[in-house]
């Protein structure tokens, strides 16, 4: 089998891989509601610390965790594909930024609530919502770019 494997056939195979990746990039259009929903439940959770009522925080935490399960399912149903944040080589930095910003905003809200500065928790909630939109969309953009231009795949080989 390997004898049939000349440079031209190899280039054609690499080109076919690149074409499939480009097809996948075209398909990976995140539903418009995904990031607002994710940012919304995160903001609700972060903002709940402003109430300084454990029951409210617990309900919002459960709602947030439930959405972390439900949203990927809904994304899969809409696109037929699921991308975890850690597989893409370049785009994953935005997934880490998203996770880091969520954790940071939660920490700020908890600290502020403990210090009695509840308006700070509300500001942290707004920041969490905004950063989810920014980092989430940056992740999507860079993932599509990565799929179309992955130098490891050699998609740019044109002399086939």
């Amino acid at each position: 089998m390997e004898r049939d494997f000349d440079p031209q056939a190899s280039a054609a195979a690499l080109y076919a891989i690149g074409n499939q990746r480009a097809h996948l990039a075209d398909r990976l259009v995140t539903p418009w509601w995904y990031h607002p929903a994710l940012g919304g439940v995160l903001a609700l959770f972060v903002g709940s610390f402003a109430t300084r009522r454990l029951a409210v925080v617990a309900v919002c935490a459960l709602l947030y965790l439930a959405c972390l399960v439900v949203l990927p399912h809904a994304y899969r149903r809409a696109t037929g594909v699921w991308v975890n944040g850690y597989t893409p080589r370049r785009a994953r930095r935005w997934a880490f930024a998203l996770g880091g910003s969520a954790g940071g905003c939660l920490l700020v809200a908890i600290t502020a609530a403990a210090a009695g500065a509840w308006p700070v928790a509300l500001v942290a909630a707004v920041v969490a919502f905004v950063l989810t939109q920014v980092f989430g969309r940056r992740f999507d953009d860079e993932l599509r770019e990565e799929l179309r231009e992955d130098p490891e795949i050699g998609f740019k080989i044109e002399e086939v």
Binding site: F5, A13, L14, A16, Q20, L24, V83, I153
Partner: protein, 96 residues
């Protein structure tokens, strides 16, 4: 990544399946079928070959009365695909 020819990954439909699965967590059967342009039975056959090699897992889930099958590469499948791509690049002269 060490270049390594892999006869399981080498067949064009399986190479394309791996190309679609490698950068993501999982892909639905119907999406793979439409992207590669083969029939259900042909795709099933190729997925079974990859599954038997330990390169792929299939997960069936029922939703709203429909069974949806999702395919995902295993770490061994990802490594085999990366090695095969490296071998292709070596042959073409673009790889390290």
């Amino acid at each position: 990544m060490t270049p390594r020819f892999d006869p399981v990954v080498h067949a064009p439909p399986r190479l394309q399946v791996c190309a679609l699965l490698a950068p993501v967590a999982d892909v639905e059967f119907a999406v793979l079928r439409d992207a590669i342009g083969v029939s259900d039975s042909v795709l099933s056959k190729h997925l079974r070959v990859l599954e038997e090699a330990g390169y792929l897992t299939l997960h069936k889930a029922a939703a709203l009365g429909r069974v949806r099958t999702r395919a995902a590469l295993t770490p061994a499948g990802r490594a085999a695909f990366d090695g095969h791509v490296a071998e292709l690049q070596r042959l073409v002269g673009t790889g390290g």
